[in-house]
Chain length 367, copies 3
Amino acid sequence: MTDTPGATSIETGNGKAVPTKTNPGRFFEDFKIGETLTHATPRTLTAGDVAVYNALYGSRFAVQSADSFAQAIGLPRSPIDDLLVFHTVFGKTVPDISLNAVANLGYAACQFNTAVYPGDTLSASTKTIGLKENSNGKTGVVYVETTGVNQRDEVVLSFNRWVMVNKRDQATPTGAATVPDLPSAVAPERLGQHLRDLDISAYDDVRAGAPHRFDAYKVSETIAHVDGVTVEEAEHQSATRLYQNTAKVHFDQVAANAGRHGRRLIYGGVVISLARALSFNGLANAFAVLAINGGRHVAPLFAGDTVYAFSTILEKADIAAPGLGGLRVRTLALKNENPDTFPMPSTDGKYHEATILDLDYWVALPK
Amino acid sequence: MTDTPGATSIETGNGKAVPTKTNPGRFFEDFKIGETLTHATPRTLTAGDVAVYNALYGSRFAVQSADSFAQAIGLPRSPIDDLLVFHTVFGKTVPDISLNAVANLGYAACQFNTAVYPGDTLSASTKTIGLKENSNGKTGVVYVETTGVNQRDEVVLSFNRWVMVNKRDQATPTGAATVPDLPSAVAPERLGQHLRDLDISAYDDVRAGAPHRFDAYKVSETIAHVDGVTVEEAEHQSATRLYQNTAKVHFDQVAANAGRHGRRLIYGGVVISLARALSFNGLANAFAVLAINGGRHVAPLFAGDTVYAFSTILEKADIAAPGLGGLRVRTLALKNENPDTFPMPSTDGKYHEATILDLDYWVALPK
Amino acid sequence: MTDTPGATSIETGNGKAVPTKTNPGRFFEDFKIGETLTHATPRTLTAGDVAVYNALYGSRFAVQSADSFAQAIGLPRSPIDDLLVFHTVFGKTVPDISLNAVANLGYAACQFNTAVYPGDTLSASTKTIGLKENSNGKTGVVYVETTGVNQRDEVVLSFNRWVMVNKRDQATPTGAATVPDLPSAVAPERLGQHLRDLDISAYDDVRAGAPHRFDAYKVSETIAHVDGVTVEEAEHQSATRLYQNTAKVHFDQVAANAGRHGRRLIYGGVVISLARALSFNGLANAFAVLAINGGRHVAPLFAGDTVYAFSTILEKADIAAPGLGGLRVRTLALKNENPDTFPMPSTDGKYHEATILDLDYWVALPK
């Protein structure tokens, strides 16, 4: 049992002590820079997962919705929503990386490299790239790079994240002070290689739902996505289970009763998917997420709250797929507050109190 | 932007006015008789959608439930539930037809022409066939005919509906006064052509769940469907999203708080599917919906309400499929009231206060 | 109508009495020892059903999660979760066996014989093997053996259960007093024949999520499964409908208001699946359920309750599949009480008040 970090003994009903076989998660001291962890539970995504995802978010991007639309532009069939891919790979990392996390501090450099289709199987591994103990001696920040691959070992996506993790032994300093250099945004010219051979001349604006292609958007333009959606416990729990993300905070009301919020926390990935689905109304042709440059869960979301979103265009660029352009979009999600007034963070970085998500990402649109 | 009806300007965070890229919906003045609108978001229906539909309604018709049962009577596999097809096509029309609708007034002449199988892709278009301004000058009634086709451009279903839509400019009369002539029922001899070649001799009553075939039913016979089902917010929202129907009233509790009911309204199509699933207990062999002659959503349904249903046989007829007979059924759905007492509308058309749906439709049963 | 047990007359709205076409269920007098009932509604299970099941329970066993993992050990693809198979077959028996049941008293000798894959169609039949009238004259116990087969008529699983059923005529004793001899556990050497040809050398512990194989477990070892999950109405209703189990007690709040609990009862099969999914954390390599020796629903579960589980290893044995070992596991599920204290029943059989399920079953693990 010594190779299982954090293994503890438990007492059985008949008084004998045995080692636990349950996963206690890793503590800060268990991570080593350069070490790669192979995560459990590869996952075949199917048309069933797509249907559940659609029922939970109501996504309407035509490329993902209709095989015939996807085939017209040269894809073999509708690819799986990029964010379902992201959440699935992310979910695999939770038992090894963030079971003892105090906070999920940030994402960077999430890049989508290969389309995923129903029947593909995703596996994940994570390399530790930085470790920095906090000055209080109780916690440290773990920086990782996660890679998701398909059944042909093609890299489907990779991303960095950093989490604050409890130390096992608060009394013993580790001296860890390595902070990796992470990019504030993914370089657009690297993006969209998997969309290189599309026949965009066959892309049908009318069927896609809006006439606004790449050229119609201007840097600093802001779009309110109009619609709002109230989230129920059954919905976020089903979504999070679909990703096989079993972090206790999302599912256990008895444990939550003893916690700070007294409520089950909604997984941040649910908020990202809700914001993306809402963004269709205003970005209907932005059919592919190419990269997530960074993201911040500004405040927690709870069941019963209603989510709205608005977006600002940060940047426009050519990408590796001719016929497509890259828009760098900043989407802010709000709870219980309509986005018509565009409550942007103030210049000193203070968010409007309704803000729950600040997401910076690249999407692809037909030119 | 001038070709987008109702486009308005919005202010961005940095003070520049830009045209909105979100869909404001059409107002009464935007419809023209004879014009056909091509709707967005074609949709491939899969075995995943069927599973979500079953989890939400619990349908048990054997032809749709088991490939082996369907194959025994000559179908390639289980077809997709007719109402899932209807809701999917209907959902596509919402952004173009009823986003600014005050009320969905009625349906007529909904005819199912082609079986839909997992993997088929549905697209929809709608022709305006009538326009009548209301005397108050604030609204008008738009009459349309919607057609849903599959990826081979075969007409899967067509239906009429009429909706009350806000005028953009209340001060300027349009003079519109064209009301189309719509049939009170679809002629049965036109129905069921897609079921013409079934081998009904292999239809297994025992496996289907009841011995009552076409001949067992009598005109004016009334059947209480016994079971009741309580609807949750997560269920109706998931169903409505599955159809990519994003009408705000079903999803946004903050907006609902300011509205007449203070609650999210359950999409009427959810009620129709619930009533159909309940009708299995009494109409177990009525495996195909051939047509919807008319429907009225008598009162709104809210989460927490319990739905019951009962049916009266209105008419019996031969249809275009030998071996099958057509029953014209009137199903009334009630909320929070068991249907044992058969609360029919009074002779002056007044409904029992528990009534939420009055649906007139043709179903096919083995003879 | 005389061949439909319990058919009654109802009054229609226009005053004419007609026989009901709805299923009234069987009463105690309607069962005959040796008679086999063919159940309705064969059901094709698909990747869609698997996705809904995963979204509702969050199962993580690698063999069922990833085609590539299943193929590595010699299976054609991921098989369907054994409990989804069980619930599907069980659901078919409800309209014929337990619609008038007062209580589902127990299970025995549930044996899984054949793997089920997406696309397979399940049908069920049930033989009555015992009848014993209760001394109060109001009810009797019906003992049955149910068999589920696939579309090739291969037996997928079989199980016994016994239910207390109302008599139609309390005044007339039936004299029924036949109690079958049912085994307290399935003999392990009969189990796992469908897993005989697996290449366990290719089984990857790391990808499966834990290093603990068959040899790591000891008889009488007890494992707390750590995680808890709060159940919502929408979740248990969706699960129960997925199985086409339409027992009124799970769905109808208006009827429940008049009942003993005032709440919709959660189907016991939901509790079994939740406990099984929770057991992954501690039994991650126990990828197949081979048999259910017995089960008792100790107390009802309601929406809003949080479920926990712990397990004791009862027995270890060789099974019919070389390379795999059989663990006989007793899993107790609790509501709203963390299992860290292992609240076992007392020696006089009295359960801790939080106990909701006591399940005795065989699972297979790699050696």
